[in-house]
Structure formats: structure tokens, C-alpha cells
Symmetry: C2
Subunit: 146 residues, 2 copies
DNA sequence: ATTACTGCAAAAGATTTGCACTAGG
DNA sequence: CCTAGTGCAAATCTTTTGCAGTAAT
């Protein structure tokens, strides 16, 4: 199904209301690979939805996280919570200079997750696998300016 | 070397001053497996160091993280940053009910880290491998209270 | 018609900053 | 001595909460 975002399906199946604000936030989450924060989502959508409030962005993100439809990645380098619409087990790479976050897929993440679930004794409900460092671009910038 | 904490060595080698406050914070970090927050460290030490300030705790933690002597684990379930004095590659398990954090050692973490360093193109400087779920104790409490 | 959702304003927390004083080296 | 470090108070920033009005179902 490509005409309807999987996030919207999640909301519908949970019996939550499909308000224009929620639909817009889901649309942005699906069509944006920046792993945005609540504030960034708010700023992206404000021009087209002038009445949108930051509170609603937080509400919707909390609802989607609660449904397991998106992941809370925890705080980035600037201390702000970032979200990820990609929910298959993977790692995220966070650039400590530009604060950009990208997905990094590796079967080792699944292997580790399976092991933790089997051996830790914890009833695992979520995971965050984050690596911090300098992205390609920021490495080049910093090496050209000694 | 067991008479001198490795954290204190780190401070000394970096040329940072060994104030009583910093020594106390290092001592607590080494002898505490709770992965404490700045506030928790402050509360633990306040009785013995009545003049200690939360600002100094934050300063010291920032210095130690900067030296790579401890790790910033990011925000726990309550939104507070927690710290880990164990810096070998490992995962952390966070209980979403009691907010407790424990270390989980697995060779798969090192494997993944090696792969990310070799293949991502990022110059990796740090990592956080976090799993969220219910710890043994909280599972038992929740199953006995339906 | 219901009641979940929205948006505003205010509150709550965690962390950071400015600055005068103190003390480690 | 000298300047890094401390402690206090205030500021900042993100996220949460209370509540009256609005709109999805």
C-alpha cells in the first residue's frame, strides 16, 4: 500500500482520530529522512498549517511512539529528542558536528537484539543503537581548515 | 592500580586540577553501578560535601566525558541524562518501569562497532547501545498485580 | 451527540551561563 | 601568583500540563 502511509494505518487501527494535523505529521515523517525533532517538524509544517501547535506535534509523536509506529532516538548532540520512522532493527549514525542522523543497516543489530531478548531476562520493548562521530562532509570541512 | 581510580588518572594526565569535588565524583562513579544522573550524584555526595554544587557536578561530568573516561548514555525514561563509568563496548538495559540501568556485555557489540567503523565512512567517536524493557523484578511485580 | 483532539498559556525539569570568589598547582 | 574551578542565581531550552473551545466519528 503506497497511497496510504503505514503510520496513518497505525492510527486508524488503534482507533485514533485522523485529524489534518496528524495526517500532515505522518506525511512528513514518511517523506523526510532527517530524523526530525518535534520543533523541526513544527517548523516544516507551520507554513502550510499556520494554526498547528507544537503541543499537537508532541501529542502525535507520543501517540505514534506508543503504537510502535515510530521510534524515539533519544537526545541528539544538542539535547533534543529525534524521531525515526524506520522501525526495523538498525543503527543510527549521528554527526557530532552537523547533528545529522542517518540510518545504518547491519544484520549484526538483529543478531545482538535476538541475543539480548533471549539472554538478558528483560522483556525488551525497544532499542536504540547509536554511533556518534564525524560524517564524511564534516570530516572534509575540518581537514581543509586546520 | 587499585589505589587510584582510573578516572583520577585521566584528569591528572589531562592537566586538570584534582579538586576535592572532582575526586569525590570520580570515587562515586567508580563505586556505584547505578549509572547515576548528575542530580543523583549530587544527592549522594551532598551529605558529605555540603558545599558541593550541581554546577560542579555537571562541569566534572562534562570534563570526564570529554576525556572519554566515562560515557553519556543519553536520556533515561524520565528524560534525564545518565552516565556510565564502564567504557568498554557493551550494551545497557534500561527498565522502563523502575528506570534502573544495567550493563550487558556481548561480543556482538564489538563486532557491530568494528563494522560501523570500517564501513560507515564516519569517524566514530562514541556509541550508545541501549535496550528498553521490563527488568526481572518489574516483570514479577506487574504479573502479580493484574 | 460524544468525547478525543487542538491550541494557547503557563509550568515543570534539566542543563547552561555569567560572574565574583576561592584554591590547586 | 595565576588562572582554572567553584557555587550561586538567573537564564535557556525542551517537554509537559491544564483547560476551554473545536471537530472527527
Amino acid at each position: 500500500m503506497f497511497t496510504e502511509s503505514i503510520l496513518i494505518e497505525n492510527l486508524r487501527n488503534a482507533g485514533l482520530r485522523l485529524t489534518p494535523q496528524r495526517l500532515a505529521i505522518c506525511h512528513l515523517l514518511i517523506n523526510n529522512t532527517e530524523h526530525p525533532s518535534a520543533q523541526q517538524i513544527f517548523e516544516h509544517l507551520r507554513p502550510q498549517y499556520p494554526s498547528l501547535s507544537l503541543t499537537t506535534v508532541y501529542n502525535t509523536l507520543e501517540a505514534l511512539v506508543g503504537l510502535g509506529a515510530i521510534h524515539n532516538l533519544g537526545n541528539d548532540v544538542s539535547g533534543t529528542i529525534r524521531y525515526d520512522a524506520e522501525t526495523t532493527p538498525h543503527a543510527n549514525l549521528i554527526c557530532t558536528t552537523c547533528n545529522r542522523i542517518i540510518d545504518y543497516h547491519s544484520p549484526h543489530v538483529q543478531t545482538l537484539t535476538d541475543e539480548v531478548k533471549a539472554q538478558s531476562g528483560y522483556q525488551i520493548t525497544g532499542a536504540r543503537v547509536l554511533y556518534y562521530g564525524l560524517c564524511d562532509e564534516c570530516q572534509q570541512k575540518s581537514s581543509s581548515q586546520p
